[in-house]
């Protein structure tokens, strides 16, 4: 098991390497030039050339890549072209809001979606099942920003219960943190709830048709015991898998949610950096995102061994 984990961690290095090369090339082959943005609308061509030289953008691509890679090996992701601040500092500043929003979203989504999915499977074909599925379809179909604006209108403008925007670190108090994070997490979690609820329903339904469930019923076990101890536990592998895959959905949704609720997280940092062609930030962020993705997949694979004792690595 430990050997497997070490092997998987080592296997992330070539994956990250491929991501790094791909991202670097993609960025530098995309039209757009940070020097023109810095120089401003009325800059003279010679000013733009001078700025490009200062930024090292006139060097051949392989030299720029080599320099970046060399610094990366030393733990230095570079300096932002625009703010002149280290990329690691900028990412650190934005990491907490994004991580906390993602965690809160996942917790809320799992807390809502798994019981809903189990309930729908248990009450298959009834109005409860249909209501859960209608909710799931809505969760998939209604864009995040619509849910977000509707919640702002209701809870912030009309009821004045929650702030419209902003982020309070958890270190400044749980209540202020929750007041800021609850609406973004629910808005972002809608798709996630729909996805997990559907998969949970399908997995549990499949398990409920198994012989051992019938045996459990025949033995006279309580419904809740059958559902939680026998059905849900055996249906957990696909549910956990979809939670992991959903992290990608989450990363995509974070950009919109952070903009609407004005949360200074990694999503907004990414969009701002792309629009300005702040290459060091984009490169650093893509590495962080891909690293998170690889790590989440590793954790999911490891979790299989606990959920299903038949699985061995």
């Amino acid at each position: 098991m430990y050997a497997y984990i070490v092997r998987r961690i080592l296997a992330t290095i070539p994956v990250m390497g491929v991501v790094a090369v791909f991202v670097f090339l993609l960025l530098h082959l995309t039209p757009g030039d940070p020097a023109t943005v810095i120089a401003g609308d009325y800059a003279r061509p010679e000013d733009i050339v001078r700025i490009r030289e200062q930024l090292g953008l006139n060097d051949p691509l392989y030299i720029q890549f080599g320099n970046w890679l060399w610094r990366l090996f030393q733990g230095d992701m570079g300096i932002s072209i625009f703010s002149n601040l280290p990329v690691t500092h900028l990412i650190q500043q934005r990491l907490e809001p994004t991580i906390m929003m993602a965690l809160t979203t996942i917790i809320i989504a799992i807390a809502i979606a798994v019981p809903l999915g189990v309930l729908a499977a248990w009450k298959q074909g009834t109005w409860v099942d249909r209501a859960v599925m209608v909710f799931a379809v809505l969760g998939f179909s209604v864009p995040i920003f619509v849910v977000a604006y509707a919640m702002i209108w209701g809870f912030s403008i009309k009821l004045k219960w929650l702030p419209v925007q902003g982020y309070t670190p958890i270190g400044e108090g749980l209540i202020p943190f929750l007041r800021n994070i609850i609406m973004p997490a629910v808005a972002l979690g809608m798709v996630y709830v729909a996805l997990i609820a559907r998969i949970t329903r399908a997995s549990v339904m499949e398990v409920l048709n198994e012989d051992y469930i019938r045996t459990a019923r025949a033995k006279g076990l309580a419904s809740t015991t059958i559902l939680i101890r026998h059905a849900l536990k055996n249906a957990a592998v696909p549910i956990v898998t979809i939670i992991g895959i959903g992290i990608a959905l989450l990363i995509g949704g974070v950009v919109v949610t952070e903009s609407v609720f004005n949360i200074p997280g990694l999503g907004r940092l990414t969009v701002d950096a792309i629009l300005r062609r702040d290459y060091p930030i984009i490169q650093g962020l893509i590495l962080v995102f891909s690293g998170v993705y690889v790590l989440v997949n590793l954790l999911i694979d490891i979790s299989y061994t606990f959920l299903d004792p038949r699985i061995r690595y």
Binding site: D33, A39, D41, R50, F82, G166, D272, L275, R276
Partner: protein
């Protein structure tokens, strides 16, 4: 069990008692410090207003730095950090004297050598600064408080240049900072302005904090544009960058921010009914839209094809599409903006009267025969995206085979530098806009520069007569004579058509009624404002 319940009860009671107390305590904190919370038009990405022309960095500059000279509401230069200036009889020697009480944020006094170094650095990056230095023989500090600028020949815009209100504004920096290569950012923000930048509180992309500079000595005159007394009436100014306009509006309505610098025009009706919000035009000069043809590529390498664009355009079509509310725009033919000292309608008839038949005739005379015309549309800037679509439709109506190429602004700024033919990735038309502070003078208005491929702005107009008239303007100090030169210049501009002005609009700002003393100016200033 009972005792556990009792414990829970007492805890809840204690919390119930503590909560209002905590709220009161928070309220006391809030009233102790007067904070002005502003939603600026953009995120502050960099801190050096000489290194970049970004308006947000210019606005940051006005908070932390100060200027030697500043323009008042009549666009006249007034002393700001200066006590006085004297001009020799032959107009070649300007002697500037700094006023008393000027100190850098690190406590050291401002001296004339700082001013000399700052002007030199600014002049390496700014067009008006470069022009000033072309005429300058020497710029030296003669004492701690006095420096002298000696010209090679008379130049009419010395004071206007040093008092330039918009980017790049000649902000004064400490000599050590001002000696930084102008193509690199200054390593530290040490100004002498009315606010001190709190670097530790800066979260790029989210928040910027400025603290009141207690040591700042404002002038005694009332504030007027960038001139007059910069009297700070709050303890802290916080810039909270909110990228989404609807969220910004909701934050203003909910009282989470006090001032929204640039209201999206389509959201004005949603706020008009709120009794706690004031919607006002803070920049009286407004903004001018530019349709920029490429003078190197056919068909717009021919002046007749560019004149056809004048006849094709109706400003109201653009302004309704991009601004909407008629209170916020006006049709204006003047190249140097309406209601400015250089406002004139001379030569503007073709622009102010739409005539498709004339446009088609001129295109035919220019030899246009259905070739593809590439129009670059920046989809991430709503105003320019909308203007591009209006132009595309109008071009189709006069028989032009237009191809709209959608892209983001960053891509456009790279593409527009291409001088290649359309078949090799070149372009024919893009749109932009310029604020009145930049547009209202023939020298600072980059769009009218006709210095050909070597010197003109993207689109590269080329006309010696325009350049001669701009040069005459810059040498003339008498405002009346300057106006006469501008009339000749504008007549020529409507013949050459370096760009087509698609209208003038006024950007509304919104603030909560608890603010007073908001200044009217082309640049948003945060002194003089009181939070009640």
């Amino acid at each position: 069990m009972k005792s556990r319940r009792m414990n829970l009860k007492s805890t809840l009671s204690a919390l119930a008692l503590a909560a209002p107390l905590a709220l009161v305590a928070m309220g006391n904190d809030a009233s102790a410090e007067k904070v002005l919370r502003v939603a600026p038009h953009a995120d502050l990405k960099n801190l050096d207003p000489i290194w970049t022309t970004a308006y947000i960095t210019r606005n940051h500059g006005y908070l932390v730095y100060d200027t030697l000279i500043a323009l008042d509401e009549k666009l006249r230069p007034q002393p700001q950090m200066l006590e006085k200036w004297e001009v020799s009889d032959d107009g070649l020697k300007y002697t500037f004297t700094l006023r008393d009480g000027l100190r850098w944020h690190d406590g050291s006094p401002v001296v004339a050598e700082d001013a000399v170094a700052s002007l030199n650095r600014w002049a390496k990056r700014d067009t008006m600064g470069q022009k000033l230095m072309d005429f300058t023989d020497s710029l030296v500090a003669s004492s701690e408080k006095v420096f002298v600028l000696t010209l090679k020949e008379p130049y009419g815009l010395v004071l206007d240049s040093i008092g330039k209100i918009s980017s790049n504004t000649p902000f004064m920096m400490k000599k050590e900072m001002a000696e930084t290569d102008p193509f690199e950012q200054v390593p530290e923000v040490i100004g002498s302005g009315p606010f001190i930048f709190d670097k530790d509180a800066w979260v790029p992309g989210s928040k910027v904090v400025y603290r009141k500079n207690e040591a700042y000595v404002p002038r005694s005159e009332p504030a007027s544009y960038a001139a007059g007394g910069k009297v700070v009436k709050v303890d802290t100014v916080e810039w909270l960058y909110i990228p989404d306009p609807a969220t910004t509006m909701n934050a203003l309505i909910a009282g989470e921010i006090d001032y929204w610098e640039t209201v999206a025009p389509d959201l004005v009706p949603a706020m008009e009914g709120d009794p706690n919000i004031v919607i006002d035009v803070i920049d009286p000069l407004g903004t001018q839209g530019w349709l920029r043809p490429n003078h190197l590529n056919p068909p717009f390498d021919n002046p007749k094809a560019r004149q056809a664009l004048l006849h094709m355009v109706r400003q109201a079509d653009y302004l309704r599409a991009i601004v909407g509310d008629e209170k916020l725009w006006r049709e204006c033919g003047a190249y140097f903006m309406c209601d400015t000292p250089l406002d004139t309608a001379i030569g503007a008839d073709p622009l102010m009267k739409q005539d498709f038949e004339m446009a088609k005739k001129l295109l035919a005379e220019a030899g246009y025969n259905g070739e593809k015309v590439v129009l670059m549309q920046p989809t991430d800037i709503p105003v320019l995206s909308g203007a591009s679509l209006v132009t595309a439709q109008l071009l189709r109506q006069v028989g032009v085979n237009v191809e709209v190429q959608a892209m983001d602004w960053s891509t456009l700024t790279s593409r527009r530098a291409e001088k290649k033919p359309v078949s090799e990735g070149g372009w024919n038309i893009f749109h932009t806009y310029s604020t009145g502070a930049d547009t209202s003078s023939p020298i600072s208005n980059a769009g009218v520069s006709a210095g050909c491929e070597e010197q003109a702005w993207f689109g590269w107009p080329c006309d010696q007569m325009i350049e001669d008239l701009r040069d005459q303007f810059s040498r003339e100090a008498d405002p009346e004579k300057q106006k006469q030169i501008v009339k000749k210049l504008q007549t020529r501009l409507f013949e050459v058509v370096p760009y087509v002005n698609y209208g003038q609009w006024f950007q509304p700002a919104a603030y909560r009624k608890n603010l007073s003393g908001v200044l009217v100016s082309p640049v948003p200033f945060f002194w003089n404002i009181e939070v009640n």
